[in-house]
């Protein structure tokens, strides 16, 4: 007996997280269990300077490099040490103040909180990350 021919789908926890994100005015990103950025909402698109429909899914690594992540003092921040990186690699929540350069060339400072998503059997489905821009302070790179 062959395996059922089924459609390719995201897991339900990711689907529900995406639905939550798409209904929030708070910027939110979603990584899947492979670390691929699989979704960000319209509020996050304002931070990034590009819509998700323009960027599509971004493999792990490419995304962080594009953003030139740094701490507020300007020290570069490796992706693994970002809140999303910690949530993904160390499977624990993390929070930091970050600076990043958006696709529109604007450098912004914001708060980032990331949390791993575990399913009912303890399996990891990915990571969600929420962002908060305390002040509208923007720095042209």
């Amino acid at each position: 007996m062959s395996e059922p021919a089924v459609g390719a789908s995201k897991s339900l926890p990711l689907i529900l997280a995406r639905e939550l994100a798409s209904n929030l005015a708070t910027p939110m990103f979603l990584l899947d269990a492979a670390g691929t950025l699989v979704y960000f909402n319209e509020a996050a698109a304002r931070l990034l300077g590009k819509d998700f429909t323009d960027l599509g899914e971004i493999p792990s690594g490419e995304f962080g490099a594009a953003l030139e992540l740094a701490l507020p003092d300007g020290k570069p921040l490796p992706l693994r040490e970002s809140p999303a990186g910690i949530a993904f690699f160390e499977r624990r929540p993390a929070h930091k103040t970050l600076m990043a350069t958006s696709y529109d060339g604007v450098r912004r400072q914001f708060e980032a909180t990331a949390h791993p998503l575990f399913g009912a059997e303890g399996e990891m489905h990915g990571v969600f990350a929420l962002f908060w821009q305390d002040s509208p302070g923007e720095f042209t790179s």
């Binding site: 021919a5 089924v6 459609g7 789908s9 529900l16 639905e19």
Partner: protein, 292 residues
């Protein structure tokens, strides 16, 4: 395989003159496999009459596949006669929970004061399993579960045998928080098991004007059901989990609305009814019995 609907009412049993044609028993579908195995999808009140028939010619083992533990999918279990056959192997499959084992959750209902007996006192041999998202073989069928959007842990099932597939998602709200017309298929709850099914039995509890006041209750309006089935490219759609307040004539209005939304598929969209049979084998066209 051949499926037979023993109950297709949603939420609560609804017997009476207004529901004679489509039936008042809650969710239960029997699937007989070519290998002789019997699968029972959900244990709503429809499992009681099924148990009466099954008890006359007992299989060597019974598999009950629960989509979730809301009472309309579980209430008949305590009245399923094979449960009281000493030593009979009854495998019960259900969604996982991070908090309690399946048997503990079922025992919350099958124990005093809600039920006169305790689950551990029934004489049959109960074996509990987490519904697997990995393909599972029972007899001649391959079965796969997938978590779907509803209230609480809930799965749907896909059963494949001899190149044919039947998918059962009786309680499902894929439109919750999203626009099904634009969401990519890979982001649709349930698509992973429904895709390309020969027959899909799917939640269609509400007319669209009713859904607007029931968003988040875990069920679908007919428009969402049609959009889901279209995106899943199913061969036949059976509207299931009828609202307990819908009379037979009202269900037929809902069917008319559904068929009007999917032109060209009119003859392959039907209402589930008690006694309905669905025949799928690898050599003949799929046969879905329509209500008369």
């Amino acid at each position: 395989m051949q499926a037979r609907v023993w109950g297709c009412r949603g939420s609560v049993a609804a017997p009476g003159a207004d529901t004679v044609k489509y039936g008042g028993n809650t969710s239960c579908v029997e699937v007989r496999l070519a290998s002789g195995h019997s699968l029972i999808l959900d244990a709503g009140t429809g499992i009681r009459p099924l148990g009466v028939v099954m008890n006359k010619d007992l299989p060597t083992e019974v598999h009950i596949l629960l989509t979730h533990l809301h009472l309309d999918h579980l209430q008949g279990l305590g009245f399923f006669r094979p449960l009281f056959v000493p030593g009979l192997d009854i495998h019960i499959w259900g969604p996982t929970s991070p908090v309690q084992h399946l048997s503990e959750r079922i025992a919350m209902y099958l124990s005093p004061p809600l039920f006169p007996l305790r689950l551990e006192d029934v004489p049959s041999h109960l074996i509990f399993h987490d519904a697997s998202e990995e393909p599972l073989t029972i007899g001649s069928a391959t079965i796969r579960a997938a978590k779907v959007t509803h209230q609480g842990p809930t799965v749907g099932y896909r059963i494949e045998e001899d190149g044919r597939s039947l998918v059962y998602i009786p309680d499902h709200e894929p439109a919750l928080g999203t626009d099904l017309s634009s969401v990519p298929e890979s982001w649709m709850s349930g698509h992973v098991i429904a895709y390309g099914a020969d027959v899909l039995l799917h939640d269609a509890q509400y007319r669209d004007d009713e859904y607007d006041t029931h968003i988040g209750w875990g069920h679908s309006g007919v428009d969402a059901t049609i959009q889901f089935a279209q995106k899943a490219d199913v061969g036949n759609l059976i509207l299931f989990h009828h609202d307990p307040y819908h009379t037979d004539p009202e269900l037929e209005v809902l069917l008319h609305q559904a068929r009007a939304r999917w032109l060209g598929m009119e003859n392959r969209i039907n209402l589930a009814f008690e006694g309905m049979t669905i025949t799928l084998d690898g050599t003949s066209p799929v046969h879905v019995e329509a209500a008369v």
